[in-house]
């Protein structure tokens, strides 16, 4: 039988892919965070970004489930054992497309899960169709006349539906990305969203590394992330300037902090 083990080199990403930079920042952030790898679970769906957990060093616990379903799986894990640090790391198609309903609900439920969305504005693994965040007019083999759907604004949605942590970063800015990851990982309670702009060198020839580089702009340090209106204002910006940084932090208690059954310890502990 043909043996593909030697051909199956890791990571399975293209040279120059923005995912490498995210991986580097993630490894660094985890190392700095003081989080115990034993208690860290990475959850993903399916896509190029979703392969991410397999490449993290040192190795972590991994639940790499179905396309679009990372958030409900992560929610189940967190409910079962809320001492685990549960981090979702998946693509824009996964989280905002197939998983759209779960995304809204994770925000509303305020489950203590951290979500890193590798937003390359394209379905890369399936070879380049429009994703929810693709620009208007984005041409592909399926969108032959260009995408006609208004690009999805995940940050604005998260803010109006009262997410407790909403931020954006860019894979091309290591320090910024690492600091955003740390902020998300240390966010005290509830759902934390970090949207990460990530160039896809193979299928997105519009929003390239260069393009992002020219457009991203760190948020003015004077911005108060507790100011919802100001946060919304930032979230609605996408064009000449794309703000990166922490847009919004709310003050809702996390779901797990409110559930009566969890007050005596994790469900896992209670099983003995």
């Amino acid at each position: 039988m043909i043996c593909l083990t030697n051909a199956d080199k890791q990571p399975a990403w293209c040279p120059g892919c923005g995912n490498y930079a995210i991986l580097k920042a993630f490894n660094a952030a985890i190392a700095e965070s003081g989080l115990a790898p034993d208690d860290l679970v990475l959850v993903s769906g399916i896509g190029q970004a979703a392969k991410f957990p397999h490449y993290v060093t040192p190795p972590v616990n991994i639940y790499n489930g179905l396309h679009g379903r990372a958030l409900p799986a992560a929610t189940g894990i967190k409910l079962a054992n809320h001492r685990l640090k549960v981090v979702v790391t998946s693509g824009d198609g996964d989280m905002y497309g197939e998983g759209g309903n779960h995304f809204i609900t994770a925000v509303r439920r305020n489950i203590g899960v951290v979500a890193f969305v590798h937003n390359n504005q394209v379905y890369a693994l399936t070879k380049g169709q429009a994703s929810p965040t693709s620009d208007l007019g984005f041409v592909t083999k399926v969108q032959t006349h260009g995408s006609l759907n208004m690009p999805f604004n995940p940050l604005a949605l998260a803010i109006v539906e009262e997410a407790s942590f909403v931020a954006r970063s860019f894979s091309g800015d290591f320090e910024h990305l690492k600091s955003m990851m740390l902020a998300a990982l240390h966010h005290p309670g509830g759902f934390a969203l970090l949207d990460i702009l990530q160039p896809c060198v193979s299928f997105n020839k519009v929003n390239t590394y260069q393009w992002y580089k020219e457009h991203v702009q760190p948020i003015d340090p004077a911005h108060d992330p507790r100011d919802k209106r100001a946060a919304l204002e930032l979230a609605l910006q996408w064009g000449e300037h794309i703000p990166i940084g922490i847009l919004y932090t709310g003050s809702r208690p996390s779901l797990e902090s409110q559930l009566p059954a969890l007050q005596g310890g994790t469900l896992l502990e209670q099983l003995g």
């Binding site: 083990t5 199956d8 991994i62 639940y63 409910l79 054992n81 779960h102």
Partner: protein
């Protein structure tokens, strides 16, 4: 003897209150009680009915024809009067009527000082007296049941019951089964499943509401505080099953409840549980389809879907209880199988069994949790999908030194994505071997009937009670019938089942669907040939009457 009381009226008229009060008080007295529900998909109006079957020995199912119909509406009387035993008695909530006995329940309720809804309590009083039961027992029961309510409410109910009792004085009494030592604990199928799951150690319940499964969901929610369960309503069924997958990954028994349409949305997740080797547990309460179908009726028409739902090939086990007591015990056994073999398990009930209430010996609320078969102290070199003879890999959970790695892509024994063909086949075979292992310890079907019966009724799930009664009646009339009841529908222990099927002159399959889904499975497995069958698919449950009539050609 046994007696069927049918209480009919509109949704919102409190028929269930009447039913529950009667059932509770009678079972306190020691009468055998079994109740079933027929209702429409609306919140007010329409025509619903509760059947209360009373007996002086154990009861196992409802029946078609009523001995006594109490209808709170004329429509109810009109529609249901054709479903009476000869000389059956009909009481209509009216001041006078020429087709039935008029009893002005509502008026009596008002006159006794209560609201119209108290007509229910009037009816319980009247029926208790009419059937010659000790009315003090009813009054005591009402006091007990309403103990946590305002004094005003208690007294109003007592007054209403009294008014009913008084009204009965002038009426002709009806012979009814005498109290025996029937067990006292009124339990529904839905709540027996919930208690089975709670005692077994289920701690996460994620569901999206859907009739008739919501009864189990609500029963679980009612137990949540006592058993420290998280009952989380999911945004949709896809979320529900994936939350269950996540929770079981983390080591906590978890389940979801749903019905056909919701299950349809779960089958991708089912396939995922098969691939990740998670003990995901789905309570699938059947109702007639396709699509929205008849949301409040019963069916056994999702078996083949349960067998083959989900893409690709992976092991699963399917169970279907036949009685309220089996709901409890089988839930626990099925959860055990899910955890022992680390694979999804489907638990098939239906509207009929979900809603059926019966007085049974109290279920063991302190039954021990099942063994979750978790490997303590797995070390850093742990392999989640180690290849073993029976396909079951030792199961660690995250939070320790071992890295627990799962991938819905084909993966190597460590759990990491692999595209290698040989690894694919090795893991594929490993997974399928688990189904062979489950088959080896599969629950055998239960035989009932004379050892030398010539004809064998083959049934599964909730048809149990009706078939038990049918077999007795058929054999009474000098026929020779036995029945084989399956509670584990898949995988089957082929040699054992073949053995039990052998030696009959005739097989007759009985199923609550139109196409004969279990029969098809048995033929596919080479266990039976094409054979006569009895199918019911109008939305109602099998009764002994239906089966006996079908066999003796009475219909």
């Amino acid at each position: 003897m046994d007696l069927l009381i049918r209480i009919a009226g509109e949704a919102g008229q409190g028929l269930q209150t009447t039913g529950s009060l009667l059932a509770g008080a009678l079972s306190k007295l020691g009468v055998h009680v079994l109740s079933t529900q027929s209702y429409m998909s609306r919140i007010r109006g329409g025509l619903n009915w509760v059947d209360l079957r009373l007996g002086d020995s154990e009861l196992t199912s409802g029946c078609d024809k009523a001995d006594l119909l109490v209808s709170f509406t004329t429509v109810g009387r009109d529609v249901l009067q054709g479903e009476m035993v000869p000389d059956g008695i009909i009481l209509l909530d009216a001041e006078n009527d020429d087709k039935s006995i008029a009893v002005p329940f509502t008026k009596i309720a008002r006159e006794s000082g209560g609201s119209t809804l108290m007509a229910n309590t009037v009816a319980t009083g009247l029926l208790f007296a009419l059937l010659g039961y000790d009315t003090q027992a009813l009054l005591d029961y009402i006091r007990e049941e309403f103990a946590h309510k305002d004094n005003e409410i208690i007294n109003a109910n007592l007054a209403a019951a009294w008014a009913g009792i008084n009204h009965a004085e002038v009426m002709k009494k009806i012979a009814a089964p005498r109290p025996t030592n029937a067990p006292k604990s009124i339990t529904s199928g839905a709540s027996a499943i919930a208690l089975g799951a709670a005692t077994a150690g289920v701690k996460v319940v994620c569901s999206y509401p859907m009739s008739p499964s919501t009864a189990t969901l609500a029963a679980l929610a009612a137990l949540a505080d006592k058993y420290h369960m998280v009952v989380e309503q999911a945004e949709d069924e896809i979320a529900a099953i994936n939350m269950v997958c996540g929770a079981t990954y983390a080591g906590v028994p978890a389940l979801t409840t749903t019905s056909g349409g919701g299950f349809a949305l779960m089958v991708e997740g089912l396939s995922n549980a098969g691939m990740l080797e998670l003990p995901a547990f789905i309570v699938l309460a059947q109702r007639p389809g396709p699509a929205t179908g008849m949301p409040t009726r019963t069916a056994q028409s999702d078996l083949q879907f349960a067998l083959h739902g989900g893409h690709g090939e992976f092991p699963r086990a399917i169970f279907a209880p036949g009685s309220v007591e089996q709901c409890f015990a089988l839930t626990r056994q099925a959860l055990e199988v899910a955890h022992r073999y680390q694979t999804p398990v489907l638990f098939l009930t239906d509207q009929y069994l979900q809603d059926m209430e019966q007085n049974i010996p109290a279920l063991d609320a302190d039954a021990p949790p099942i063994n979750r078969h978790i490997l303590a102290d797995a070390s850093a070199d742990y392999l989640r999908y180690a290849v073993t003879p029976d396909g079951v890999s030792p199961r660690a959970i995250p939070g320790g030194a071992a890295r627990v790695v799962m991938d819905s892509d084909e993966h190597d024994s460590a759990g990491h994505l692999s595209e290698d063909f040989a690894i694919h086949m090795e893991q594929y075979d490993k997974r399928l071997r688990k189904e062979v292992a489950i088959a080896e310890t599969a629950l055998p079907p239960e035989y009932y009937g004379p050892p030398d019966a010539e004809n064998l009724l083959i049934i599964w799930g909730s048809t149990y009670g009706a078939a038990l009664e049918a077999v007795d009646r058929l054999n009474d009339s000098a026929h020779s019938y036995g029945m084989l009841h399956f509670t584990q529908l898949w995988p089957l222990n082929l040699p054992a089942v073949a053995n039990m099927l052998a030696g009959f002159k005739q097989h007759i399959t009985i199923e609550g669907n139109a196409t004969g889904q279990f029969a098809a499975l048995l033929r596919e497995q080479g266990l039976i040939e094409k054979c006569p069958h009895i199918h019911r698919y109008d939305g109602l449950a099998f009764t002994a009457d239906f089966i006996v009539d079908a066999i003796l050609g009475g219909k």
